[in-house]
Symmetry: C2
Subunit: 391 residues, 2 copies
């Protein structure tokens, strides 16, 4: 067994995205204790930064010590118990994972489906709320990582409030890539991931809870099914009044990296970062279109940070990805579920959202296509992207 020296990849899949040297070096700083006063000071800064990122005043805003799936579970396991009915909006893999979470937490899911690649239909959501008065929570995915679709979060939250429901929002791929306005929309529970538009290493899941959400947790009749994720316990560590108490050992060095990721976002400015995502997407889209490629998702609900591109007829999608990885050290994502083999998912998240990546991706794709008998002009595609970026 020898030390592992990973290759240098350019990460343009659905996450992880490129991680800057600053974040990597922050993670390599000396480990200190999870109850060290200096560490606690850093925890406070992380909470403050995260509140700004989620655009919320929610007191309980912190990163869960595990990947996004555990953030999702933190929301569902705390807010849902036996006897609860949850409306789950499902238009991709992560909507279905929400349904799974409702069931595992002991609740019943009422599903409102939308075709993969399309946005949730507000009229169907409203109809389901009217038809099922027992629904007390509405759960939806803001940015569906499996399809590249943006949901109308403001609209869904307004419907939920009208019907006296709390909301759970998946912001794994949206946070930092498109506006996420937790207080303005009145989202009650939200979770994200460190490795998408925040461009940190994978392994942490930022979450935030409204007072209404916490009241619901406090009023539970049964204990939360997960001890590790039970907010009434976790908050003694992340939000202890008059001193923190031990719950679990926090992932100290991962949090160093996460702190640095926040520092970098606010150095650039959140608005500037969102604009960079939007402009880079426009450039990539122009380049892809010049090669005759099309998007799965209509332009008005398309995510800038996750581009779902239809595999042209007769092209073997896996061989294209394999060539990109072996010849260009470039990772793009495959389709999931019913979209496997039919689309690529090209991420422009965080540090990966830059013109150098767009140009590399277009050049590498054109090369791979030409080996696959699908004729493409890489230089023209790069020129189209540059023109769109400059516009």
């Amino acid at each position: 067994m020898q030390s592992f020296l990973p290759p240098h990849r350019t990460l343009m899949g659905p996450g992880p995205s490129d991680v800057s040297d600053r974040i990597l070096q922050a993670m390599a700083r000396p480990t200190i204790g999870h109850l060290d006063p200096e560490f606690q000071r850093m925890m406070e800064e992380i909470k403050t930064g995260l509140k700004a990122l989620f655009q919320t005043e929610n007191r309980l805003t912190f990163p869960v010590s595990a990947p996004g799936s555990a953030g999702m579970e933190t929301c569902f396991h705390n807010l849902v118990e036996e006897g609860d009915t949850v409306l789950v909006v499902r238009n991709g893999v992560f909507g279905d994972r929400m349904r799974e979470n409702v069931v595992r937490a002991g609740g019943t899911a009422v599903l409102v489906d939308a075709e993969w690649g399309t946005a949730p239909d507000l009229a169907l959501i409203e109809a389901a709320l009217k038809a099922n008065a027992e629904i007390s929570i509405v759960a939806f995915v803001h940015a569906e990582t499996s399809t590249g679709v943006l949901a109308d979060a403001a609209g869904i939250c307004a419907l939920a409030q009208k019907h006296d429901c709390l909301t759970i929002m998946d912001a794994v791929t949206s946070l930092g890539g498109v506006p996420v306005l937790v207080d303005e929309w009145a989202v009650d529970a939200v979770y994200s991931g460190s490795q998408k538009c925040l461009s940190c290493t994978p392994g942490l899941s930022p979450v935030s809870f409204s007072e209404k959400a916490l009241d619901r947790v406090r009023a539970r009749k049964t204990p939360v099914r997960s001890w590790f994720l039970d907010l009434t316990l976790v908050m003694n560590y992340w939000d202890g009044e008059g001193g923190r108490s031990y719950h679990h050992t926090a992932p100290v060095n991962a949090l160093y990296g996460f702190h640095e990721a926040l520092v970098m976002i606010f150095e650039e400015g959140l608005d500037a970062s969102l604009e960079r995502h939007a402009k880079t997407h426009t450039a990539l889209a122009a380049g892809l279109q010049s090669m005759g490629l099309s998007f799965l998702v209509d332009a008005d609900v398309r995510l800038p940070q996750l581009n779902t591109v239809v595999v042209p007829e007769g092209v073997d999608e896996a061989s294209i990805r394999s060539h990109l990885l072996s010849a260009y050290d470039l990772e793009i994502g495959a389709g999931l579920g019913p979209l496997a083999g039919k689309v690529w998912r090209i991420g422009l998240m965080g540090s990966s959202a830059k013109m150098a990546n767009v140009e590399l991706c277009l050049t590498a794709l054109a090369d791979a296509f030409n080996r696959n008998q699908y004729k493409a002009d890489g230089k023209a595609a790069v020129a189209a992207a540059q023109a769109a970026f400059a516009a």
Copy 2:
């Protein structure tokens, strides 16, 4: 918000322990995708290394993507469901956390208590097994981090087998510090932590499951209450036949560090590492005794890697820890629960188990004591430690 520059501490608490530069630098290597072929090759090496460390041939042996508490939950949530009765041996904080886990998983716990600071009593365990035929799992803590006590794992496992029960063992503090013989003892489910005697950063929990344990999971009547920790899903990523499939995004860089921690353990040799823990403990004990301090735990069940030292009459334990931290950048641990204020927990785990740390700790303690009107001769204590180490 500015970059966080942590102080350099010497970590002699109950974990995290000192993390070597090699591990920190491994974590700072460039992030690659969690499905990258190179990453998958590294995952296989981690599994192979972990099997050697746990001394098991168990095929399903991998690190859970979250801290030890999540490893604990992985064991209990997969093996326990509604209607199950679990015998929980409780002689400290972590035995009680096992009880909590049984309840959260929907099971019933039968408790066999031992006084904090003492080892579990095999006769009481056998009596409980005889009196409660419905017990199907025996759960116990191998090395109680809250008290510094080693349990007779071989004896407990033999009793469990005699009564046709599976076993769940907490090896968070034991793995790498004292022998952990999963196959020889026939432990069915075991979890540990990265930040104790493996001297890696906190955030990962190595686990291992026997075929009997997996048969029990496959025979469940109800779904595992945690989607994130459901072994039937997680194993498609860590142990996929004919290719891995996505479950959650693994903490890529944390796993780089964990891989390097394993490389370092096998470079030294597991037996040599265990001997180093034992010898360093002997040295520390001699030094502490020369200052008139005593241990909470009897010598025959004392953990070398976690030394629970009784706070002398009239000494304010918090002020001692505070002086160690501010004047020596040295962290030692406080007592938990009923032992709060009454003991210190001095860790000699992994890289922290070395004479330089022992000498620093004795010197710093003597200085702090002398400021607290408890007279101690630091130089004599160091000399006693060195003599014991050389013996």
